[in-house]
């Protein structure tokens, strides 16, 4: 009896439309480098979240002047800086700062960039011309250079660094969304939706935005790594986080002045930046492989 039923069930299962997201997830979890990337990110996110709860020392205040420039040991496994602060604790807490700034900067860029891309592509005309003109100006400056110019004038702070990095990434998202909108605006199903009386807001929300999601997610994952590097670069130049914030770029800057006597001050924050960026790059590459229709074939 069961032998005769099985093929029927299989046929029903085959007829049932499979969710592209579930398919994507299944492909992602078969992607070994993607899993490695995700694991690294989950590790950094976990220690960042746990940082305020589990802390052997206060990252900014706890100073042990007897341990000044102490090399790595059982007591201070990453060594101590010139003020006797535990570098392990500072690197750990630094993850919180870098990941937070990276994530918020990219989220802001995605929000503003998507909005501008939708407006430019959907409204068209002089609005589109104006937005494209603004993007062209922003794209004429290499990313970090524009961020440096913005922070140099706004004044050095972590918030201004976040704003500057976000501004440099907006054109990327506007371009992606605008190109999707332009390709879909005159498509038959959008015209059909319009003919059925759907308003602009509904068409954008139900038809255009979901189609922009795939390239947006790929770009977003890769952008977070870039944002973390940019935050660190601004910190290193003295334009980002200010002392005593345990920010990785700023820690390398502090370590640079002591680097003949205490190289560990620079090495460990650098390794942390490198690993977190590798994590996001691996994840971004895997997400691109999973979501790229040509690679799905």
């Amino acid at each position: 009896m069961s032998d005769t039923l099985t093929p029927v069930n299989d046929a029903r299962a085959a007829d049932k439309p499979r969710s592209p997201w579930r398919d994507g997830l299944r492909r992602f979890f078969r992607h070994p480098t993607g899993i490695v990337g995700l694991s690294i990110i989950v590790f950094f996110l976990t220690i960042s979240i746990l940082a305020p709860v589990l802390r052997p020392y206060d990252a900014a205040r706890d100073r042990d002047l007897r341990a000044r420039l102490a090399p790595p040991s059982a007591e201070h496994i990453f060594g101590a800086d010139e003020l006797g602060r535990d570098i392990f604790t500072r690197v750990w807490h630094g993850g919180r700062v870098s990941l937070r700034v990276g994530l918020i900067a990219v989220a802001l860029a995605v929000g503003v960039g998507t909005f501008l891309g939708l407006v430019a592509g959907y409204v068209g005309g002089w609005v589109d011309t104006g937005i494209v003109w603004l993007l062209d100006i922003l794209l004429a400056f290499p990313g970090i250079l524009l961020a440096i110019a913005i922070v140099a004038t706004l004044g050095p702070s972590l918030t201004n660094a976040l704003i500057a990095i976000s501004i440099t990434q907006i054109p990327i998202y506007t371009r992606i969304v605008r190109s999707v909108v332009l390709s879909l605006r005159e498509s038959e199903y959008v015209q059909a939706a319009r003919a059925l009386g759907s308003g602009s807001g509904r068409i954008v929300a139900r038809h255009i935005l979901p189609n922009s999601l795939s390239p947006l997610i790929v770009q977003l994952t890769l952008s977070i790594g870039v944002a973390i590097l940019d935050v660190a670069a601004l910190g290193f130049l003295g334009l980002g986080a200010q002392p005593p914030t345990p920010e990785w770029g700023l820690m390398i800057r502090d370590g640079f002045s002591q680097f003949l006597r205490a190289p560990w001050m620079s090495i460990f924050p650098g390794v942390a930046i490198f690993l977190s960026v590798v994590g996001f790059n691996l994840l971004g590459d895997a997400v691109r492989d999973v979501l790229d229709p040509r690679l799905v074939e």
Binding site: F141, P142, L145, A149, A233, G238, S266
Partner: protein, 330 residues
């Protein structure tokens, strides 16, 4: 305009920044007149009412733009040296470093990308791509510090900073020391200049190298799966010729685009690399200006780098026609 706007819309008075909080109001007012900061920012409607159209443009932005088109970027607030003069003296150092970094990235990156593509899925491919992934994930300033620590401090093979050793004598001609040493026939200076270039060029070239490797590999993979490559192989053409003659040239177009775009990351990366290596180029100069809040230098430096970036991209666009004769510009 963008750079002008962000430097002018910032709260705070440059006169106070320059003269300090304790300066007298008369001195500040005098300095504002000297710097032209007493004028309106965009257009002078007051003067327009009195003098007509000529008065309208007596404002900071029109004056700045009229000077800019004449190649005048203003003067350093502190040293009073014209920005263009400093740019001219520092540009050769930056361009020399950038060209060497780019040469390193291209001459290592393209063959490595081709090699990885030819060994797709094998250990060679995995190794190259892992290194490439690491390359795009390094903070450039940290890599620079590590290179100095390993090769200059620990091993003592290469100098840690500067463009020439103190003992080396070289009369500059172009400002590009390697070229100058060749032109002067000064072998000792040539070796010294090259030794000073190795570490900064390695640090600066790593990110473009990684990007070029990745792009060359993916472009080559696409071309190697084309019908004409299969035809060439089935005709019995040897693999080396198939790769180098048939595939590589067609795979180069996106690589050239990436090389052009990488120039931007090189120029901005130069700020970080030059800072670590005390390299007396535009990057280090802008960094010092940032620390001193010397706005004309920041403005001029950023504008100049953006100009070079746009210029390089234009050259890249034009070079497409050379690489691919099917592309023509009318």
């Amino acid at each position: 305009m963008l750079i002008f706007a962000i430097t002018r819309l910032v709260p705070g008075d440059p006169a106070i920044a320059l003269l300090g909080q304790r300066s007298s109001e008369e001195a500040r007012a005098q300095l504002r007149i000297e710097l032209g900061l007493d004028q309106p920012v965009w257009l002078n409607f007051e003067a327009f009412a009195e003098e007509g159209p000529r008065g309208l443009v007596r404002a900071q932005y029109p004056i700045y733009m009229s000077r800019l088109v004449r190649g005048d970027l203003g003067r350093s607030i502190f040293s009073r040296i014209p920005v263009t003069e400093s740019l001219r003296s520092r540009f050769p150092a930056t361009i020399e470093l950038t060209l060497f970094a780019m040469a390193f990235a291209v001459f290592v990156g393209v063959p490595a990308g081709v090699w990885a593509a030819r060994h797709r899925g094998k250990i060679q491919d995995t190794a190259v791509m892992t290194l490439a992934l690491s390359g795009v994930s390094f903070p450039v300033f940290w890599l620079a510090i590590i290179l100095i620590y390993v090769f200059a401090v620990t091993l003592g093979w290469l100098p840690p900073s500067g463009r020439l050793s103190v003992a080396t004598q070289l009369e500059p001609i172009t400002g590009l020391y390697v070229l100058d040493a060749i032109l002067r026939g000064n072998g000792a200076a040539l070796v010294d200049a090259l030794r000073h270039l190795v570490l900064p060029a390695l640090a600066l070239g790593t990110i473009p190298l990684a990007i070029i490797v990745r792009m060359t590999r993916s472009s080559m993979l696409e071309v190697l799966s084309q019908d004409y490559v299969r035809t060439a192989r089935s005709k019995g053409v040897i693999e080396r010729v198939v790769v180098n003659k048939h595939a590589l040239r067609n795979a180069l177009l996106p690589v050239v685009t990436v090389i052009g775009l990488s120039f931007g990351s090189l120029l901005s990366g130069a700020i970080l690399t030059e800072t670590v290596f005390s390299w007396p180029g535009i990057g280090r100069w802008v960094y010092d200006a940032i620390s001193a809040r010397d706005y004309p230098i920041i403005q001029g430096g950023v504008l100049f780098v953006a100009f070079i970036f746009v210029l390089v991209n234009l050259i890249v666009d034009l070079s497409y026609a050379l690489i691919d004769p099917r592309i023509q510009y009318s």
